[in-house]
Symmetry: C2
Subunit: 311 residues, 2 copies
């Protein structure tokens, strides 16, 4: 039979002091009296007494010199211990204040995320306005594709996301802010450029420049499919600027939904923007947040600014 080795459960008997006990002790130390401390803390005298005794037992310190019938005074060790205890209590209070500041004040930092499609178009001015109002809040804006955005929200990396309402899972809340109806970008010498509006059917036969991003791709494709036609993809591009350049140089038309301020491509050619007839399904832009998590005041303030900006 083997020798059974006794396993010593090493729970590392860390001194167990509660904040309450420390509070009682400090109060007694400052008043040099258990009774006065009891009055100040709105508890009975034995409560203070036993808290002190408990700390003395836990630490092995003699905190007080008991003067019979006339209160207490701190021992030198007690004085030193009280100093540190007060610091700790201070920090504990600060933690509480910090918590309320997180729920109540617009401060600290704010992390959010958006799609690179329109982040640089919409967010800079909102961030500018926000910074002017709340200069102490540190803004951090990431750009990522929809998949990463949703994962980041679920993992708590971002407080909110400015994105489309596409494939948003049930755990997330999507509050729409505005809609972007799709429109056509045409080179100025395109046969359809003189119309006031064009239909999907009209466009189908012409060569198209496709913004080749996961979401855009699916969305614009769906506009044709819902009309029973298929687009004639001549070129694919990976940035808005490139698409505009290709259009401006007459290589085809493109569909867009994010509003563009400029009617000129980077190389100086003019572009014509026309609405689509038949009110095609617009994309909905909004804010995605976690369903069961209250937003911070900073996040709410930012989202408000975003809303007024877009509406």
């Amino acid at each position: 039979m083997l020798c059974s080795i006794p396993i010593v459960c090493r729970v590392d008997h860390a001194m167990q002091l509660t904040l309450k006990q420390l509070r009682y002790f400090v109060c007694a130390g400052e008043n040099a009296s258990v009774t006065k401390a009891a009055k100040a803390m709105f508890v009975s005298q034995p409560s203070i007494s036993s808290a002190i005794l408990h700390i003395e037992e836990q630490t092995g310190l003699d905190l007080f010199i008991r003067h019979h019938a006339q209160g207490l005074s701190l021992t030198p060790s007690g004085q030193r211990f009280m100093l540190k205890a007060k610091q700790l209590l201070e920090e504990a209070d600060n933690l509480g204040k910090f918590a309320t500041s997180l729920t109540e004040s617009i401060s600290g930092s704010l992390r959010f995320v958006s799609l690179p499609t329109f982040a640089p178009i919409i967010l800079p001015s909102v961030m500018r306005q926000f910074r002017d109002l709340y200069p102490d809040v540190h803004l951090h804006c990431d750009e990522a594709d929809q998949e990463k955005i949703l994962a980041g929200l679920l993992e708590g990396r971002y407080e909110f996301a400015v994105t489309y309402d596409l494939q948003v899972p049930a755990e997330l809340e999507f509050t729409p802010i505005t809609e972007f109806p799709p429109y056509v970008l045409l080179p100025s010498d395109h046969p359809l450029a003189t119309a006031t509006a064009v239909s999907i059917e009209q466009l189908a036969e012409h060569p198209m420049i496709l913004l080749d991003w996961p979401m855009s791709r699916d969305y614009f494709y769906s506009l044709f499919l819902s009309q029973g036609v298929e687009p004639n993809i001549a070129y694919r591009a990976n940035s808005l600027a490139m698409v505009r350049g290709l259009v401006a140089n007459g290589l085809g038309y493109a569909l867009f939904n994010t509003p563009l301020a400029s009617d000129t491509s980077l190389d100086g050619h003019k572009i014509v923007m026309l609405p689509l007839t038949g009110s095609p399904h617009p994309t909905r832009l909004g804010v995605a947040t976690l369903k069961d998590v209250r937003s911070t005041p900073a996040a709410n303030a930012f989202i408000d600014k975003l809303r007024t900006q877009l509406m």
Copy 2:
């Protein structure tokens, strides 16, 4: 009948978070799991759960995103709160460590007090030795008369006192270290200077220089009174140096108990030191501490050094 005004008890509902709750929360946050935290903390899963819920209720924060059947992740607020909570817990641990350091290690600072009569004669060399052994301990030595010494001990201003066992109250513990038998200081041309020892009776008629300090005065007087004679006080002086100067210049003899290393006064005259016959009552030098308060290791170490120095 007067309107009864309802008194709103404004107890300033300060957020009541316990360290234990914070510990549970942090552990859950670090493990991204209530269950794992429960195992790590050796408590049941609901204990962790309710601690978190309690903090969330108290602070109004949503600390975690609950992923059904696959743990938790911290919200942005939760992340920030956890950082601060960890800091607080760190500080709490430090307080515990500080307490044990007070009881176990020779460190920090050490305040004590002694009588100016012999403090400068005895303590400097002990302090020197102590500093060489424990250079990090800060020594603070006050000088005060017996009355102030005793009050200072009772108020916790000093950890111990090096003094005589005179009028020590019951709350204090006096541990004697050594005895100082009184002896005579004579000018070298004094009629008794050639003897090997002198008696109190012999001295009584000669002019005496009295060290006019409360305790010394009473003590030396008592040596005469116990023999049924009275001293012939010619001069009174307020310092050892002055007494020695007066003696050396032939103005009288003096009684001393603290041992002197030099047989020369400050102005260069020789002094003769002779023992008293009849073994008069010696003064007892020792250490006074509070009776019910354990001394710190630093104090014990110092007192040990003092004892080996004097014995």
